[in-house]
Symmetry: none
Subunit: 408 residues, 2 copies
Amino acid sequence: MLGRVLNTHQQWLCRQLADRGYVVSRQVAVDDCGPAITGAVEESLGRAELILVTGGLGPTSDDRTRDLIAGLLARSLREDPSVLAHIETFFSGRGRPMPASTCVQALVPEGATVLPNAHGTAPGLVLDTPSPTGSTRPGLLVMLPGPPRELRPMFLEQAAPLILKRFPREVPFVCRTLKTTGVGESVVEERIARPLQHLVAAGLEIGYCARSGEVDVRFVANGLQAQPMVTEAEEITRSLLRDSIYGIDDEDLATVVVRLLTERKQSVALAESCTGGFIAHRLTNVPGASAVFAAGLLTYSNEAKQTFLGVRAETLAANGAVSEAVAREMVKGVGKKTGADYALSVTGIAGPGGGSVEKPVGTVFLALASGRKTIVLKQFNPFDRETFKQVTSQQALNLLRRKILDLD
Amino acid sequence: MLGRVLNTHQQWLCRQLADRGYVVSRQVAVDDCGPAITGAVEESLGRAELILVTGGLGPTSDDRTRDLIAGLLARSLREDPSVLAHIETFFSGRGRPMPASTCVQALVPEGATVLPNAHGTAPGLVLDTPSPTGSTRPGLLVMLPGPPRELRPMFLEQAAPLILKRFPREVPFVCRTLKTTGVGESVVEERIARPLQHLVAAGLEIGYCARSGEVDVRFVANGLQAQPMVTEAEEITRSLLRDSIYGIDDEDLATVVVRLLTERKQSVALAESCTGGFIAHRLTNVPGASAVFAAGLLTYSNEAKQTFLGVRAETLAANGAVSEAVAREMVKGVGKKTGADYALSVTGIAGPGGGSVEKPVGTVFLALASGRKTIVLKQFNPFDRETFKQVTSQQALNLLRRKILDLD
């Protein structure tokens, strides 16, 4: 509540629940004092059948959620030996002494189901709750640890199956997201809205979500006709947007590129300037990237472009570092030195400084070489530094994807 | 509520309010159906003197906030000629026809103060409200447009001055965050909780926030003694945690490192393997990084380590790529080729594959060279891939920070 932390749980959990057909009616954040937590949970108990509570399960004195909720539901706390053993193993495996305060995380409210924490010490806890107003079935309260890398796998692997079992979907629910890149949100809508009109009239919901460098198209349908409706919508959309669609659901463009390269036993090498390692970072976030990622040369300075990539001093002097000629020499250099099947280079002006009238901030040249052929793309991405990197990396990876698939 | 949009308003507004000494007691998100909006606002009216409402002021059919709040407070709506004129100017200035639906944004509840929108069409609206429970002074409800680039300047330039005038701070308010790395959350608390006990008894609030590879310690105090209390807490904490504290408030470790290098006119070069460009990405997110970042060599494969860094085949064969010997040769190679003041290398096993009994997933060697001296650090970071990168990059940047400041 002090604005020090960005709440990413709301989006992530809402997304997970929506994709499974659950409607989230309210999200509440309160500070970590007792009455605020108790008040918010108590109101939720009257309002909803399913309540997710995040954070406040840690070892420090401001972690009070476990205690307060146990109190609110009149459950006593007991130390759970298996949780305690897990915490001990967690610390000894890291060769670190276990602070005494950590034991509080082994306290479990009477009747709670424990969700073991594979990535931390505080377990998740699931409790049955009284029926809320207007419902006849009992509710479920799920407490999840705050750190995203603990919360997310615990939700996916343990909480979601429990929720699905307890609150089964009575009518079929189908959700499909098509991920596009290289076309704007209004263009996407303009192309598909009318051809999908008859499905919308029959109950299909269409959502558009524009992000940096990509647009999601999401179809949702309920009822017995849900699957055929979504399938028809997907077919129509694919026939209209064709190869602008790079993936489905949660796929990331980097994951798609690594998969395409892996299937073909091919490799890529990068020469990045203005993106500063972000393209490599995205590729190497994908497990298995090491088999297809030959090397990345982050040549920010002119000297580094000369030393590592063999860019000529005359080329730099005549054209400037941000130019088609330098992009070409960079890609040639990294291709030659690594022998990778594809070589990709990027040189541009991320800003905020460094722009000129001729080459304003946001100017970027991308080059892609495979065999003897080189394509160069000039783009203009006049955004803040992080958005610039995101959009430029998307253009670079899409250039590579289209080349691998021979789309152009 | 479908998880398609990240809520950045909460953090931004909470931060703005907290920095001005206002305590935000609750944040609520609801879907844009009528009863949900009315219900959430009605509850807030009973709870708080100041209510900020964001979004739902636009021209489309799902923008219902203005109407619903006017209804709730029994205010009639009238078309405001100055707002209408602004909207007309907005469209004509962009050479676009004004859609008829846009006029709805010129409707203003009776008695409302209009906040002109310099970056869009929907104005902000401010209304007096009845006193909430437990208060004798009337409340204030501020409606702000949803798009961040409209909301933020409107809040800073118009809403914040109104709020400060209406609710002047009677007592001083002080907030300070100390950012630490290299020590765990429970260790941090164990070291400082007791020595700060007397300040907590006197009203100081302490908060801990653990992230991957760092822990924030935050002090908040109110009243005439706020500044001396927070200053004393900071002094005590600094004397106990010493150089584990790398920065204050919003500083990021990469920003600190770039600043230290810039001040000293020094440079750094990187040889990254398992972090795959993430350290370079963090450094190059900082504006001005180009002056201190010589180059980054992302040598994922053994071949790349040999070609670009001169790592010897025998060293690789005898020790494996993840070894102290290879980390040393990598750092030597990148230092020599770039002539940078500091050279940093990282080689490890990010997982999920590639581990062995002797070198399990998470094993990582970091080497730092400056002049003729090289330090090597072995770490064990058995996390998912992204957390591995985050934690390892934090260790690498901290190693560099400590070397620049000559702390070891």
